[in-house]
Symmetry: C2
Subunit: 128 residues, 2 copies
Amino acid sequence: MARSDAGKDEAGRFAYQGLDRVIHERARLGILASLAAHREGLFFTDLKAACDLTDGNLSRHLTVLSDAKLVTARKGAGGSRPQTQYRLTADGRRRFAAYIDLLDRIVADANPEPSVEGGRSRPGLSQA
Amino acid sequence: MARSDAGKDEAGRFAYQGLDRVIHERARLGILASLAAHREGLFFTDLKAACDLTDGNLSRHLTVLSDAKLVTARKGAGGSRPQTQYRLTADGRRRFAAYIDLLDRIVADANPEPSVEGGRSRPGLSQA
């Protein structure tokens, strides 16, 4: 049953080198997904709630994302208490889209046969 | 334009708590995806090629996966040079499927409107 040559024909097939570590980290993935879903940008408190992060963790991850040029911050104008608003940069939007495409491929890898319309059959993963 | 209440109605929406860190790590994700695609199991050398890992890295990650009861190893029978074969445990298969379901949700989050049949429109991510 064991195929001694299994994998030989697919060298690097599952290396997933494109999974950018800056984006792949769980909290940062949540932050980027939030910002992708809110093109107008989000305030710190909104991000904190959406991602369920502490002030410290959110600050730390936003710094990493800003340093990587994925996210940009700007002081909100107007209002008596201006807040900083965060949004994806154009490059961040592009890189996040590429990352999502790779996730899509990983999901497809786990679903080798096309699923039934609207269904969720996972022939590769279903097992008694 | 800024919605000060954005995110308020979706607390924790992007927390992605279910993203098991043992599975989410890039190299381990590749190993698990390889094993999910090869139900009969894979030998060390096959895994190494499929995931493009060094002996040391692959060993280290296999230990983490074994300790987490996601992967099981057994000495291959027969042949003059028996090799160790790795495969997903039943629990590993189940947990990997749950992880993949969450990735699927993340991909859907990034594609707020249903894409055209066979197409790849990403209204949430496309931007000039």
